[in-house]
Amino acid sequence: MSDNQKPIVEEREHVVIKFAGDSGDGMQFTGIRFSETSAMMGNEVSTFPDYPAEIRAPKGTVGGVSGFQIHIGSSDVITPGDEADVLVALNPAALKANLRWVKKGGTIIVDVDTFTPKNLEKAGWDTDPLHNGLTHEHQLIAAPITSLTKEAVKDLNVDHATALQSRNMFALGIVYWLFHRDLKFTEEYLEKKFKNKHEIAELNRLVLNAGYNYAMNIQLSRTYVIKQAKLEPGKYRYINGNTATAWGLLAAAEKAGLQLFLGSYPITPASEILQEMEARRDLDVIAFQAEDEIAGIVSTIGASFAGKLAATSTSGPGLALKSEALNLAVMLELPIVVIDVQRGGPSTGLPTKPEQSDLLQVLWGRNGESPIVVLAASTPDNCFYYAYLSAKIALEHMTPVVLLTDGYLANGSKPWKIPNLDTLPHIKPNIIKAGELKEYQPYERIPGTFVRRWAIAGTPGYEHVIGGLEKEAVTGHVSYDPENHEHMVIERENKVKEVQKDIPLLEVDGDSEGDLLVIGWGSSYGHIVTAVHELRNEGYKVSHAHFHFINPLPSNTEEVFSKFNKILVAEMNRGQFFRYLRSEYPQFDYRKHTKVQGIPFTVSELKEAIKKNLED
């Protein structure tokens, strides 16, 4: 650190910051404050929290570290970033867990007070890293955060423990100074949040400012400014994937003129969807916490029969349990939406980590020929849109629809331009009103779409019984007739195929022909886009197409593929979409890049993989 010198102000397009500390240190809270301030100051932002699997993992150990990563920039911020420019580590364990992810030359802020021999041992450091070369590669800010925090609040009447709980605010203050951020947004937030606990608000405010002032005083060698992003004008808010999913369903219910029903059982990382829906009694939502996943989906089927927009939410193990009943919905041809927030498998696997390994289960994990519609969201905010579309397709095509998201989307958040509900596509559920028809035939299909009509229980004149046995075409009576069975199997298949007409074409990002097309689906979107853009900037010829519609596939898929020599499918599993595509269009030269580590791709590994495939 050089004295008596104005710091260099680096102008940057992108910066990645990671806050890390013990689970109890408030890192999530800190991270969200920083993200909000940045968004409000006009940056693009993408974030990702990273919790330990235990509720309260042992303090001071690497297993107990909780982190929050934020990527801010002026454009193209679609991933939370690979490596951090700035790491805040509130104890030795946090440093241990995250050091390998800090860029060479990046800034590391530590609470030097916590680097006691005992803590170093708990964290698994053999020697004190602060005295051991860290400063050669990084800008180290070894701040006595604990003691300065105590100092800052000594005039307030708060106990020791409470005072120390605001250490995160000190760190945040340092970072705000480092990035030329305005404190006002956070101060306003604190005031609102603690409006009945004035003392706490004041405490946090004092410590925040102490951190800020500290940073100003120690005369850092380098600070950063990030240009404002060119965001579409409008009103923005933060949203994470689970909330966006829930709200997408709310929007669909409103646009379809139906009440929303959700029948679910809690499971990580999908629980927040149920939680949000339970809270939405204020908007007339019927949310039902069932005794298990089976009751979750079966009650959903019941609600659909009774005329609701009915949905259920879960993760992989829960989806496995729901398969028998999902198949019933296929047979009944009732509209339901199933949200699968994927996590690491098999079995209980890595319950808090993202993975894309439920794809084949969703496509084919049911007895018999059981076609359903499958969609996949790709960013936290577009969960809103794809949840909305899932509901639209279910209601208009009388079919179950599964929407795939994952733990990465569910917990990640993005600034989101609040949509105007009027601009969303119309939803016309296929309901048949009392009196419209002389005679109702439950399995009569509308020509051209294969869709049957929905006579809601309670409608006079359309009394009818449906069930899981094979049904005679048109009448829906039980039928064991061989030809009828085959006919119905094909009609159910055709009905799902027809959905193709309602979904957008596959778009190519980059040249629409060339040597290599990178294919992705789901949450890897941001990483792939970034990798491909960077490579194109570096002069490589590579394009990208991202699938949001898994079944049916967009109608131009084959045509798009045919313009490329090689197709590289990148996914966070062992090649499930790769297998599916190859079974659909075997004629192309597919390659795969896979990763099953419970963590997202990094941009750099993707770039490597792409370059390698361009070469051979």
Partner: protein
């Protein structure tokens, strides 16, 4: 659910679906079907408000024969289905037909939770003490030692008593009837419909193919009336072909059968049935009784139902809420303008 005054007058035939009944001749299900159709006609509920759901089993074919809304679903899940329908539209009259296998083997969990939550659904449990549809394996109500296809040497497990299980799960209504007693069945069905909350009605039902003698002691022979009692709220628990037997509580609080006129016992000593007492102990004992078997409405107490509480809470929350539209929700919290 709404019972409007201008509901058409029905007869049981109005509830025939026209589908050919596919149960074995003599199957108890046939008689119960008639009882249900008869009772439905008397309820003053418009036909389209009835929803009859079931799982899988011989008994679960029931919805096909009813000219109402219905779903023949998957094995064991009728309870969850009925729950979803009732919560989605409490104005519907929801009837769940289920076998001893469907409700108590694979469907046991939904059964106990539905009862605990007190969902306003009527559960008709057709207990033939066997798996009929799959051709004669034992069920959770098959008596210990009974030989079936899967217990060629006799079962080795004691059965559930559905009444005990239901009351142990918090049942607000439990009644028992038998396929052969049409009047009793119709009366109980009407009571079940009137009861707000989960009504569990156990029907002893004969399977003439795989367990045909199960209920002979209740339906055949000159002494059959000594083997059961029909209880009525407010009436003394007297039974027997000579109407001279009764139930009392002994010094250990156990139910005991006594003979009126013997040992100084008079009618006054006989217990009077109180179906409405909130504490379930005596109802539990009556449901558990092996001899005589107790028919009639054993328990019927009023408690807020889940569906009532749900809609009550939705109303309360809406009153108190900050948001009154999705738009307001979307725009709530921290937002900012980009120009």
């Amino acid at each position: 659910m709404a019972t409007t005054s201008n509901t058409p007058k029905y007869t049981f035939k109005d509830f025939h679906s026209g589908q050919q009944v596919r149960w074995c001749p003599g199957c108890g299900d046939i008689a119960i079907l008639r009882a249900v159709q008869t009772a439905f006609a008397k309820m003053g509920i418009p036909k389209e408000k009835f929803v009859v759901v079931s799982g899988i089993g011989c008994s679960s074919r029931f919805p096909y024969y009813m000219a109402t809304y219905g779903i023949h679903s998957i094995h064991g899940r009728a309870g969850a289905l009925a729950t979803g329908i009732k919560l989605a539209n409490p104005d519907l009259s929801v009837w769940q037909v289920t076998g001893d296998g469907d409700a108590l083997a694979i469907g046991g969990n939904h059964f106990i939770h539905e009862i605990r939550r007190n969902i306003d659904v009527n559960i008709l449990l057709f207990n033939n003490k066997i798996y009929g549809l799959t051709k004669g394996q034992y069920s959770p109500t098959t008596p210990k030692g009974f030989k079936t296809k899967t217990s060629p040497y006799g079962t080795i497990e004691d059965p559930f008593n559905p009444g005990e299980l239901a009351i142990g799960s918090g049942a607000t209504f439990f009644a028992r009837s038998i396929y052969s007693n049409m009047n009793l069945s119709v009366d109980i069905l009407l009571e079940a419909q009137k009861h707000k909350g989960t009504s569990v009605v156990e029907f002893l039902q004969t399977c003439v193919i795989f367990n045909k003698n199960a209920y002979d002691y209740l339906t055949k022979g000159p002494d059959k009336e000594n083997n059961f009692i029909i209880v009525k709220h407010g009436e003394p628990m007297i039974f027997g072909k000579n109407k001279d037997m009764g139930l009392i509580l002994d010094e250990n609080s156990n139910i005991k059968v006594v003979k009126i006129g013997e040992n100084g016992i008079t009618e006054k000593d006989i217990l009077v049935h109180d179906a409405h007492r909130p504490d379930p102990i005596l109802h539990y004992q009556l449901a558990a009784l092996q001899h005589p078997v107790v028919f009639g409405v054993i328990r019927s107490v009023r408690k807020e139902t889940y569906d009532e509480a749900l809609y009550r809470q939705i109303e309360e929350v809406k009153q108190a809420s900050k948001y009154h539209s999705l738009e307001e929700l979307l725009n709530s919290g921290n937002t900012w303008e980009v120009k």
